[in-house]
Symmetry: C2
Subunit: 336 residues, 2 copies
């Protein structure tokens, strides 16, 4: 019964890890064939399930290089639940997939500790997961992570581009740095074009590179969800790969555009540093990074003050960054 | 705006792929922040969502080695929806995650064609997915796949070990060969311990190795779901990693065991060939492979004939392989 182990797959290590995750997540039902989530439907007229899947990209390679795996699971949850939230839905539950070359209990436990923390930040429940030990697929020490979140909303409460109107104010919620996008470019600039060390500190940064780069992606569920439920938000763009241009365009109706004023918020120093070091055009920058805004909300002018106050009280840094104008789904970033 | 592409990530290739998948899956809504699935709840008293995530393990390395990617997506869907089905739930929707070193449109389209085919076989809907281009993470040409399935069942209809009783008959549904488990051992035996070629034919096999190894995992949803809904099935074990011993044990109550008679069904030739070539003990074999049974059902004796007829009519090969006896969650495989 040892042939499989000799071939590189330790089934018992897998079982042991399931026990660890049960403890971490306090969900004893983990490890059954499927994860169960009872639906409490009283409050919904026409419930719609909203799901999202994502990974964390090559930010993983930074975590691996630094051997710091404690927060990458937060990134994973954030990338998924922020997408679900951007549709106007309340995240209910989460599952993770960990593909790994060799199952190291300590490393896997660190990774999953982050997943559990992220799920908690999102007010959701971890109902399942898969850890796949795949020798020859991943280099020793390497792993990939995929996450999967399911949320729920009433059909009529889903955020739609038809709820975005000319004159709506664009509010930006500060990101926690790079979040989980653009890391192949980051690594190219810092570690291929140049020879930066993870312990180096770039100009204007409080943290050394490793901690700056590994800042976990912010999870906006608890601050935004109450406002969505009160009908105070027109629509939401989660700013990920493609930056403001691609992601804000997705929430615009065909006859409207979005106009941002660059002087209304602060682009994080890590991004302007990367621009300088990597000789990036502003086009490169805006299409790759979030420019400091993790979420962009379109809000009716009458609701702006209330939304700002509520978000600030919930711990967000809120910028009024522009407005919705007539146009053809363009995202314009004015330098003044 | 080319810096990111130079760093190895082609965002436009990603967008183009989304268009391809929209065509393949006939779901125009793909590509929004989250996948939507409206719930039709009239028929459920206490609806429970049942979700599962899985990958296909190093079966991927066979597909990659052979450059045949058309069916690996079926395996992915099968691994997830069969788990959901084993809980007694009807699979509703599916999402896929594709992590890839370099996004080759042709390869990705082949992979996703399989995903779409699998989702159709499962009677489910593809509502979303993520294709993550991760240079430096995966060797060129390599990729990993993770799948996520969500199903629904009424609380009272969920299959539970408490519905398994002494004297229940065990029915086995024929697998389509190895399915997606044990491939690290398969590769170790055939390609490391020995020097087999993918074009070789092993004794007793109709297909050459590549086609034998890549037989897609069978999806049992359409044949089993009607019987579950009629309340004719006590419980179901999806036979994956850990084989009959681990997976059948999961459906047994604490005071019962399962007794199989090995002479009641046919172990596929690929497994007995691997046993001989790899000098595997029967213990190795039974803990790693499905032994030819993709699903094992516990069925009340009164329902056995009806279930057998219905499954046979639905295209399954059904074996009566043993019964539930008193004991302590042991899975006994008798050689007579």
């Amino acid at each position: 019964m040892d042939a499989y182990k000799k071939a590189g797959v330790d089934i018992n290590a897998g079982y042991k890890l399931v026990d660890e995750i049960k403890n971490l997540s306090k969900n004893d039902a983990l490890g059954s064939f499927g994860g169960l989530f009872p639906l409490a439907l009283g409050q919904y007229q026409q419930p719609v399930l909203v799901s999202g899947t994502d990974g964390v990209g090559t930010k993983l390679l930074i975590a691996i290089k630094a051997n710091l795996h404690r927060t990458i699971g937060i990134d994973l949850v954030a990338m998924c639940v922020n997408d679900v939230l951007a549709q106007g839905a309340k995240p209910l539950f989460f599952l993770d997939y960990l593909g790994i070359g060799h199952l190291d209990q300590t490393q896997a436990k660190e990774i999953l500790t982050g997943v559990v923390a992220g799920v908690e930040q999102a007010g959701a429940k971890l109902v399942g997961g898969e850890t796949a030990e795949m020798p020859d697929m991943y280099t020793h020490g390497h792993y990939d992570l995929a996450g999967f979140a399911v949320g729920i909303a009433d059909q009529s409460k889903l955020l739609k581009s038809s709820d975005v109107h000319q004159g709506d104010v664009l509010l930006g919620l500060a990101s926690n740095g790079l979040h989980s996008n653009g890391f192949s470019l980051v690594r190219d600039i810092l570690f291929k074009q140049h020879d930066y060390q993870l312990t180096d500190k770039l100009p204007g940064l409080d943290l050394d590179l490793v901690h700056e780069l590994l800042r976990p992606t912010r999870i906006y569920v608890k601050s935004l969800l109450p406002l969505i439920e009160q009908g105070l938000i027109g629509s939401i763009a989660h700013i990920t790969g493609g930056g403001l241009p691609e992601n804000v365009a997705r929430i615009l109706p065909a006859d409207l555009s979005a106009e941002f004023h660059l002087n209304t918020w602060k682009i994080p120093a890590i991004m302007t540093d990367l621009q300088k070091i990597g000789n990036l055009s502003f086009d490169d920058l805006k299409h790759t990074f979030n420019l400091g805004l993790g979420m962009v909300l379109a809000v009716h002018p009458d609701n702006v003050d209330q939304v700002k106050v509520a978000l600030t009280n919930a711990g967000e840094t809120v910028y009024q960054v522009g407005k919705v104008i007539s146009g053809s789904q363009k995202v314009i970033i004015r330098k003044d």
